[in-house]
């Protein structure tokens, strides 16, 4: 891994963490509603710098984020980790299949879907063991995830376009790679 990669990962992780922390400060009108702002960074990193970078950022964000919040290795950490890994992998896989089919919005939606799916599965499997509870909440989570995923996708789209405009050379290489 090059020095530039490391630096990039560090900076992007810091962004992700900042958004992650910022989000936790926001009052949530609906319980279960998480904006998933950090996913903007993950998605942008995925499209511009590839899967490895995005995955590393996700891991750093989840681990450090939970350390800061004091929930490391607790239930919310497990859910966060599972959701983060699954969401990033799903987006990475879809991007690997085709770079043309889905844009950032579609990828973000897929990420949100798999992120939430993984969390629900983990919640059921490890903590609740009550299928009704999970089934009942699933469509609600799915709706919220779709809406937030849509917004995050649009933000990522704008972000990526701006970045490509500002630094077309240094980024284009990676994006094409």
């Amino acid at each position: 891994m090059q020095l530039q990669d490391k630096r990039r990962i560090a900076i992007l992780s810091a962004y992700a963490l900042a958004l992650h922390g910022f989000e936790a400060l926001l009052p949530s009108p609906i319980p279960w509603l998480r904006l998933g702002l950090a996913n903007i960074i993950t998605l942008t990193a995925l499209i511009l710098f590839g899967f490895r970078t995005a995955f590393t950022i996700t891991l750093i964000r989840v681990v450090l984020g939970s350390l800061f919040a004091g929930t490391f290795l607790g239930p919310s950490f497990v859910l966060s980790l599972g959701g983060g890994i699954c969401g990033t992998c799903a987006m990475g896989a879809m991007l690997g299949i085709s770079r043309k089919f889905f844009g950032p919005v579609g990828l973000s939606l897929i990420g949100a879907l798999f992120h939430n799916g993984a969390q629900l599965f983990l919640a059921y499997w490890i903590f609740i063991q009550r299928i009704e509870a999970v089934i009942f909440i699933t469509p609600v989570i799915m709706l919220l995830g779709t809406l937030t995923g849509f917004i995050n996708g649009i933000v990522s789209d704008i972000l990526i376009k701006n970045l490509l405009k500002k630094e077309p050379d240094s980024l284009h290489n990676v994006a094409q790679a």
Partner: protein, 118 residues
Amino acid sequence: MTLADRALFTVLIIASFAGMFYTREALSQGTEVIIEVSGKPVFTASLDLDRDVPIEGAHGRAGVEIRDGKVRMKEAPCDNHICMKQGWITRGTIVCLPNSIVVIAGGGVKKDVDAITG
């Protein structure tokens, strides 16, 4: 946005609403409150009998309140209090993940009788 993006968004929105509609209909339509801790039922009572139920969760005591056919998590020893913010429900579930407490309203066997004698 590609065409696929829009299509996916539409499909997901429709699927969510359909899912909400479906679960509302399909889930058990009993009139009971069932409270479970770590997957084991610890309390079952009628939803139309007002009462406060103390529940021993994984990390201490939580309080469930049943009032006027509704149920809520009154207090819970957790940080985020998502369960408490959910407020009163008449059907569905309240989950307190850190304490492994699940409150299911409108659960139980759907009885096709209005009362039981005996």
